[in-house]
Symmetry: C2
Subunit: 226 residues, 2 copies
DNA sequence: ACAAAAGTGTTAGTGGTACACCCATGC
DNA sequence: GCATGGGTGTACCACTAACACTTTTGT
């Protein structure tokens, strides 16, 4: 274990392929959806769908690789990204050892598809069997989102710059599968002090216009628990 | 991006060395300590200390590699382990690209050292400069522990099978740097229903003997937040 | 007998939960 | 004018936080 750094053995140490996969989530009319792409024809999972992702280059970080692949494969940029988990099962990929650093990404609204590469937004509650261990990765991403809704402003990543309190509440209810009382919900989130009421209102719908809000501060903030 | 899987290019994809590092924490008399080992002589950080860790083999998972290195380098087995974060900065290791899947490990008591390889338990509040980006990894580990104390039974990993409520409280106070009221603390943790009072008491100290408890159920449990 | 930590209840305040009606708009 | 979601206040309950003394042991 000491003199393993000679030039000869060094090459053998480079046995693994490093990849990333992204669980990119968005809300589409009260349904949480994940972005999927078609597998390339020459893979061990023909016709199946996969998470967008790909290899990490020698001179880029995992996060940079995620951003690059999201842009190339799905035309998506500017998503809120956080590292999710690293999947290192030996048999993940039948072709050989591939370790994947998975990320969770959130997008305000579904900006569907691109030129040639087709993309799909699938309801996370009704997923088909995905290639590799990607069903497992999606589960982990959804779990993370559910957990973080409780104590952070992670919902920010799923909302446009300006939004109504009903839209925010709808995100919580749809993802957590739990209804909240409107008045109590408003009291609670406003008491956190992370929302700013804008003068404007959302008009154009067949009911009273709703006040618009935005999150103050960047990123997702964490609140006290104990 | 499509036909990259031919035999010729496949070799070039294996550019990275995959490693693991462990932030192994324990409590030593109200001080949170991390396990460090000496760097091997031929590394770019001579005389500095590092986290225990090492390469991931082609046919083992990251978690298996952590367990193997912990056993070999520090004689430690049976620690509670959870994946912490994957560090993929391009320049982490001056010798070349090394991506490290870091783990957080907890041990009940300090079982110090082994035969030849010396190990050190260092107060996490007063760490020297460590090799590589290991100071950053330790910080992330301590943050994770602090956060999880609030909503899980992660403290279980730092305690022996049987323990007193004062010992449990001391862990919370030492790690969170915050004192709790004894009566309120007891009420709260007992109300969670995850502790079982044993008949026995801890004797032999110059004061009234304390009731012994143990955690019910395995692993670390999560509690409701919202 | 003394030192040292263990164990135990009550109160006041705060935050959570449950609940029903009027408002502003588009059609 | 009617249908649709938007916006608001109060009362009760549960949990949290503050607080002091007696008990049991070892020396």
């Amino acid at each position: 274990m000491n003199k393993r750094n000679s030039q000869t053995t060094k090459k053998e140490l480079k046995f693994a392929i490093l990849a990333t996969d992204v669980v990119l989530l968005t809300m589409d009319k009260k349904v949480l959806k994940v972005l999927l792409v078609e597998t390339a024809a020459a893979t061990p999972f023909p016709k199946m769908k996969t998470l967008p992702g790909g290899l990490i280059s020698p001179n880029e970080t995992a996060e940079a690789a995620v951003e690059r692949h999201l842009a190339h494969k799905a035309g998506v940029s500017g998503a809120e990204l956080e590292q999710l988990y690293t999947f290192s099962s030996v048999k993940r990929d039948p072709r050989g050892r591939v370790v994947s650093v998975a990320y969770l990404g959130l997008r305000p609204t579904i900006s569907l598809g691109t030129k040639e590469r087709p993309v799909y937004w699938q309801d996370v509650r009704h997923l088909p069997r995905l290639a590799y261990d990607h069903n497992e990765i999606v589960s982990k991403g959804v779990e993370r989102l559910m957990a973080k809704l409780s104590y952070t402003t992670i919902a920010k990543g799923l909302l446009p710059e300006q939004f109504t309190l009903s839209e925010l509440q709808s995100i919580y209810e749809s993802i957590l599968h739990h209804e909240f009382d409107k008045r109590n919900f408003r009291k609670k989130v406003l008491a956190l002090g992370c929302l700013k009421k804008l003068g404007a209102k959302r008009r154009g719908e067949a009911h009273r216009p709703a006040d618009l809000y935005r999150f103050v501060g960047g990123g997702s903030q964490v609140f006290e628990i104990l």
